[in-house]
Amino acid sequence: MEPFAHDLMDGPPEVARAPRPYANPYLAGIGIGIVLLAAFVLVGRGLGASGAFNSTIAWLVSWVAPGYAHDNGFLAGYLGGDTHPLKSWLVFEVAGVFVGALGSGLLAHRVVRTVERGPRISIAGRLALAFLGGMIMAFGAALARGCTSGQALTGGALLNLGSWVFMLSVFVGGYAAAWFLRRQWR
């Protein structure tokens, strides 16, 4: 029996509670929209996620190889100046995302150690693709100057031209790849 192949309903009855159904997507979306609007009004910027990864990697590299980190144009942009790279708005925001998601998950009894995958792929295969997908997406986000949170949501709401181009491309890329990856999910 594979160790992580838990169904959401598995486990001793007194531990596993039935997970609540997901929220109405429109209401969840409105919730995110209000959070995004609050960011605009309070600090004049939107949400993001990939930037926090950039800061963190820049900090780690500067720890291990400071000379290289400051020579590399991409990383140096997240270092230098007077503040610690981890003292960045996005790093704190992403920390909040973790906490908020955990909170929601606990309330809905949806926190469970599992591997999300379709019926036709192994755990090892799924994890390998998760890693690979993360890498591909990192390149995409770096080229696009953001990801779905920063570019699609934030730029979308601000009618940013580049963000709308990006958003459309994401859907095109995803649908194009879907057929090739159907063994992972269907």
């Binding site: 993001g48 997240y78 996005l90």
Partner: protein, 227 residues
């Protein structure tokens, strides 16, 4: 008429609301505003409190210390600016001050030849919601008098003399020249003209205590706003 709204599902009501708000928004104007709204009492109180200006002496110290947290704006025309301007100043002619080149988040110091035009620009910007605008008290006239060409005090005590020494150093930093004491007596019929202005030479050897101007390349600024 009310009946049809109650027959819609939540999602449909939200959609209707969005469409209504979207339709109204067609008329929206979100660009830079053209009007200034003056809160008379507040504005005049600020002036009375002296919260609306900085003195030339203060500005001189800011420039010498290399402070970069404000924008010094020369509101005269391009020719006057080219002939002479206070170091670190940028030129935004008076008629363009409200065009949007100056951000509300900036700290701004305005100056003109005297004090009047800068004060008018100040009032407009304050009325447009700029929270941190100041004028240079009496503009270039006072800059020349107090900073560039300070007058030696007559019969100075030790404290006054020390102050004048310092003012003389500041004057030299900006390419000016301290002036000898003017003997007391009836004010001259014609005011003594200030020596002609020369654009200041780059500060070479500075007296100790005056930090060097920021010639070194600033370190690359950390990306603060990306996503």
């Amino acid at each position: 008429m009310r009946g049809w709204i109650s027959k819609l599902t939540t999602n449909q009501r939200l959609a209707a609301l969005a469409l209504a708000l979207g339709a109204i928004a067609i008329a929206a104007t979100v660009g830079p505003q053209r009007t200034a709204t003056v809160n008379a009492k507040e504005l005049l109180t600020r002036v009375e409190r002296g919260d609306d200006h900085v003195t030339p002496a203060e500005l001189a110290v800011w420039i010498i210390n290399g402070r970069a947290d404000y924008r010094l704006v020369d509101i005269r025309g391009a020719q006057a600016f080219a002939a002479y301007h206070i170091p670190t100043a940028e030129n935004v002619p008076l008629s363009q001050v409200a065009d949007g080149g100056l951000a509300r988040s900036d700290k701004i110091v305005l100056y003109g030849d005297g004090g009047i035009h800068a004060a008018q620009a100040w009032m407009v910007l304050v009325g447009m919601g700029y929270p941190r605008v100041y004028t240079l008290l009496e503009g270039l006239d006072a800059w020349k008098e107090d900073v560039l060409f300070p007058v030696a005090p007559a019969n100075p005590g030790p404290a006054e003399q020390a102050r004048f020494e310092r003012a003389a150093q500041v004057a030299k930093f900006f390419g000016g020249q301290p002036r000898a004491a003017i003997t007391a007596g009836p004010a001259p019929a014609q005011p003594v003209p200030a020596p002609p202005l020369v654009a200041p030479a780059p500060p070479a050897a500075l007296a100790p205590g005056l930090p060097a101007s920021s010639g070194a390349a600033t370190p690359p600024k950390k990306k603060r706003e990306g996503c």
